[in-house]
Subunit: 150 residues, 2 copies
C-alpha cells in the first residue's frame, strides 16, 4: 500500500513525541507529509500538499522543516535550482532502513526532477584530499534517469 498523508499521522506523532519537544499540529502535519513522499520535496511542495489536509502559513512550514532537520529527523538537499529539498533521514527509494550516517548520497532524475536518497554507500571515497586537508562530511550527488523515467 502506498503511504498517504493520513496513514502517516500516528507515526509522525510518535516520532515527534520521541524527541521530547512540543507536539504541535504543524509539526505532525509536515512530518506526515514528508513521510508520505518517497522523494525529496521542496518547501513549496510541502505547502501545496498541506493545503489539502491542513493548510498553514508558509513561514511555519519553513520553520518546522528547519526544526525537523535540527532534530535529525529530516535532512536538506541543495538543488541545482537554488531550492532546498527535504527528505526523511531514513527514507530510501527501496524502502530499506538507514544504516549509515557518515555520508549522504542523492540521485536526481534529469527527467522528472525528483531526488531520491541512496543507500549502499561504501565508506571508501574515490578521491584523495591534498595533504593537510581533513574531511569531516561527505555529500555525493548523482544525476541521471530514475527507474520510473527510464
Amino acid at each position: 500500500m502506498k503511504p498517504t498523508y493520513l496513514t502517516r499521522i500516528p507515526a509522525a506523532e510518535a516520532h515527534i513525541r520521541a524527541t521530547g519537544e512540543r507536539l504541535t499540529q504543524p509539526r505532525v502535519a509536515v512530518l506526515a507529509t514528508l513521510m508520505a513522499a518517497d522523494h525529496a520535496i521542496s518547501h513549496l511542495d510541502a505547502v501545496d500538499a498541506l493545503a489539502k489536509h491542513h493548510p498553514m502559513d508558509r513561514v511555519t512550514v519553513y520553520r518546522v522543516l528547519e526544526w525537523l532537520v535540527s532534530m535529525g529527523i529530516a535532512h536538506r538537499i541543495a538543488g541545482d535550482d537554488r531550492v532546498w529539498r527535504f527528505m526523511l533521514t531514513a527514507a530510501k527509494p527501496n524502502g530499506k532502513a538507514n544504516t549509515q550516517h557518515l555520508q549522504h548520497a542523492h540521485f536526481t532524475c534529469n527527467d522528472c526532477g525528483q531526488t531520491f536518497c541512496l543507500d549502499e554507500v561504501s565508506p571508501k571515497l574515490p578521491v584523495k584530499v591534498p595533504a593537510g586537508f581533513k574531511t569531516i562530511d561527505v555529500d555525493l550527488k548523482l544525476r541521471g534517469q530514475c527507474a520510473h523515467c527510464a
Copy 2:
C-alpha cells in the same frame, strides 16, 4: 609567485581568443579574476574583486560567468548557502591539471568557507544505484578543514 589579477590578463585574453568568441573587456577582467583565485568565488566576490581594477555592472558579471561556464572554461558549484560559486575548470589546489572524468569533487572548508577543486578522483563510485536508475553525472562534495585552517 602568487597569481594576481594583473598578471593573469594576458592568459585570460589568450584563453578567450581561443574560443573564437568575441573578446571583450568584461570577459577578460572576469576570467583574470577567476584565474587569480585559488578557490571557488561567488558572483559577489567577483564583483567586489573587480571593483578595484575594472568596475562593471553586476548583471554583466552574472552573464560573463554564465558564458564562461557555457564555454567550459569555468564551472559552477552549489553552495550550502544557496549561492553559486565559480571556479576555473582546470584549477586545483595543488595546481595539477585535470585528467579524470568522474566530474567534480569539491572540498569546502568549514572554517574559512572556501571551496577547492579536488583531483585524483577515481572512476569507481562508492554507491550502488537501485535497479533501473541510470547515472549520467556525478558531483562529490566534501566538507572539513583545509590545510590553511587546520
